[in-house]
Symmetry: C2
């Protein structure tokens, strides 16, 4: 498989894993430190099998890994796939920044206009 | 619906839309300018209905919009959802940067070690 297709499959798996609020919340929880399946199941009011299913998706995407402790198997976050996803999205940064640059100039124009009007009113008095 | 859940649904839709190589390729194509369904179908060797299905997913996620020309309806990229997705991923930047910082220090240590060894060898001569 070529480098491009490996990277493309990685992106498929990463974005699919991130397209779910529970899985995003699990990552947010793991960002504050490793946790066992039990630890993770608690705040979500979900059964262990339901959480395990989400963990499997995150694990297959390489977004989490299992710790060495065979009893507890704490999960921890793995950021490499997020870095790749970030690089992909960053290519489009120009599109949202141009838009916000335009908004900035518009706001500036409106501000100048308001000031001009205020000055005129002041002079009329 | 709360602001958080609207934002969460937006992220679900954005990440799900990005989890497909054809849809990412369509966005890449639209980044270089607007294009009609016909224009988009050509390079992908896909039928128009197949492309239209992908366009619908991108459109529902707000990642593309239709131009005003009623005959051609050219699609163009809409970057706002990408900005939101970028902001979500950026929260985890520390995780991949720490890792690469560690790698940097490791490489530096190895370089110093190599230099020390080389100096020792030089002295022995």
């Amino acid at each position: 498989m070529s480098y491009t297709s490996v990277r493309s499959r990685q992106l498929d798996a990463t974005f699919a894993a991130l397209a779910d609020p529970t899985r995003r919340a699990i990552l947010a929880r793991l960002a504050s430190g490793g946790a066992t399946v039990n630890d993770l199941a608690k705040p979500f009011k979900m059964s262990q099998p339901a959480i395990s299913k989400h963990l499997k998706v995150l694990e297959n995407a390489g977004l989490i890994s299992k710790g060495l402790d065979k009893q507890r198997r704490p999960r921890r976050i793995e950021a490499a796939p997020l870095k790749v996803a970030n690089e992909w999205i960053e290519r489009y940064r120009q599109f949202w920044e141009v838009r916000y640059d335009n908004l900035d100039s518009l706001l500036e124009e409106m501000l100048i206009e308001t000031k001009v009007k205020a000055t005129r009113k002041e002079k009329k008095k």
